[in-house]
Amino acid sequence: MIRLEKIYKKFERLEVLKGVDLVVEKGEVVVIIGPSGAGKSTLLRCVNLLERPTSGRVIFEGIDITRMDGREIDRVRERIGMVFQHINLFNHLNVLDNVTLAPVKVKGLSRSEAEHIANSLLARMGIEDKLYAYPSQLSGGQRQRVAIARALAMQPDIMLFDEPTSALDPEMIKEVLDVMSSLVKDGMTMIIVTHEMGFAREVADRIIFMDNGYIVEEGSPKEIFSNPKEERTVMFLSKILY
């Protein structure tokens, strides 16, 4: 479904990605772990071209999207949902409008169709009683669940999660991970950058360990967590696991 080929990304002089190859199949859940500054988020942001790779190709459903013009890229982005560390709900819109805006303005759904979808998604996220609340009136966990509903409302083929729990208070992490688990059970294709190792072990089909702009090692959760082969993986895990 997604194939990244030899992705390089430079910011000014700093090379953040140094030739990354990654394939994600339909229905697969891939979790990317690694120390800060490893290039995990940048890699994820290259998938929907929020970040333009300096070189390399991003193939989505067999088509190289790095060669597309702006309009075509917008059409691809409709099909790739994204959830951000800093949540980024639209502050001036209430919950319902946050979720219905893109289906109405981008997909051209009618207001009532979009609200129908939004209502059922928000119910699933457990925030059906906050439809008319504004983001500032919600807790961090509620905000992130609305953001997930907002991405899902476009009925994407794949979901990208960029450290979705890193900015949350500890007691709100589980409610967000729970809805993500339920997406996994539905068979959603997902690429997740996270520091929640317990969660990663539980939901991932494949773990990618990144460091210093490279993929150092990849494998099943069992292989990576119980039997890592690379020294850098061992060092990283020994630092973060009790």
């Binding site: 917008d74 059409r75 949902g81 639209f90």
Partner: protein, 220 residues
């Protein structure tokens, strides 16, 4: 007439000054209205990465802000006729003041747009909205709320600067004041009343601006 006591004299000139004030307010509202229309597009152009938008909008802002409004007013009213373009005084004033205001409002919008966190644009783009859709539905509505205080200040500044239109025969407050002065020779009293009438509009406005500023710093 000029020996009249102050109060009856004031009463006799107030209707004229009132009409002048109305003209001043009308001139200002239309000019700042044009300014806001220019400013929305100017602001978008000023934050654009496209040289074709960024460079002309920057040149526009620098030229207008670097030259006196009076010169701009004269160019439109006295200068354009020598190119064969004759505009009536009110139209000239509104064009010159609107273009002038547009440069300042452009910079206000630029600041407002840039004050919105980058994540808002990214979230919108990730959903498939185009850059312009993201501007229209996400960035500008939030920016607009934040720039209400500076827009209020721009309105106040333009209200005072509109007195320059008195030089091209528009019967706004300043012009009416000077006409009464030349008729009655009671310069000090008349001009003081004129100044007070400007103040009577600008003072409440600036209080409102200060109040919204304070309320926003709380809610942000």
């Amino acid at each position: 007439m000029s020996d009249e006591p102050f109060f009856p004299f004031l009463m006799s000139i107030l209707p004229h000054l009132g009409k002048g004030t109305l003209m001043t307010v009308e001139l200002t509202i239309i000019s700042v209205g044009i300014g806001v229309l220019i400013g929305i597009f100017g602001g978008i152009a000023r934050v654009s990465k496209r040289p074709l938008l960024f460079i002309p909008s920057t040149i526009y802002v620098e030229i207008i802000r670097g030259t006196p409004l009076l010169a701009q007013l004269f160019i439109v009213y006295f200068g354009l006729p020598s190119l064969g373009i004759n505009l009536p005084p009110f139209t000239s004033a509104v064009i010159a003041m609107g273009i002038n205001s547009g440069a300042y409002v452009t910079e206000i919008f630029r600041g407002g747009i840039q004050s919105i966190e980058r994540g808002q644009m990214e979230a919108a783009r990730s959903l498939g909205l185009s850059y312009l859709q993201a501007m229209r539905y996400i960035i500008l509505p939030q920016a607009f709320k934040r720039i209400l205080p500076p827009l209020g200040n721009e309105f106040i500044a333009m209200l005072k600067d509109s007195s320059l239109a008195s030089t091209i025969a528009i019967a706004e407050l300043m012009r009416v004041g000077r006409e009464i002065t030349s008729r009655t020779f009671r310069s000090f009293e008349v001009l003081a009343v004129v100044a007070l009438m400007y103040l009577a509009i600008t003072l409440p406005l600036s209080l409102i601006v200060r109040y919204t500023e304070r309320r926003m710093s709380v809610s942000d």
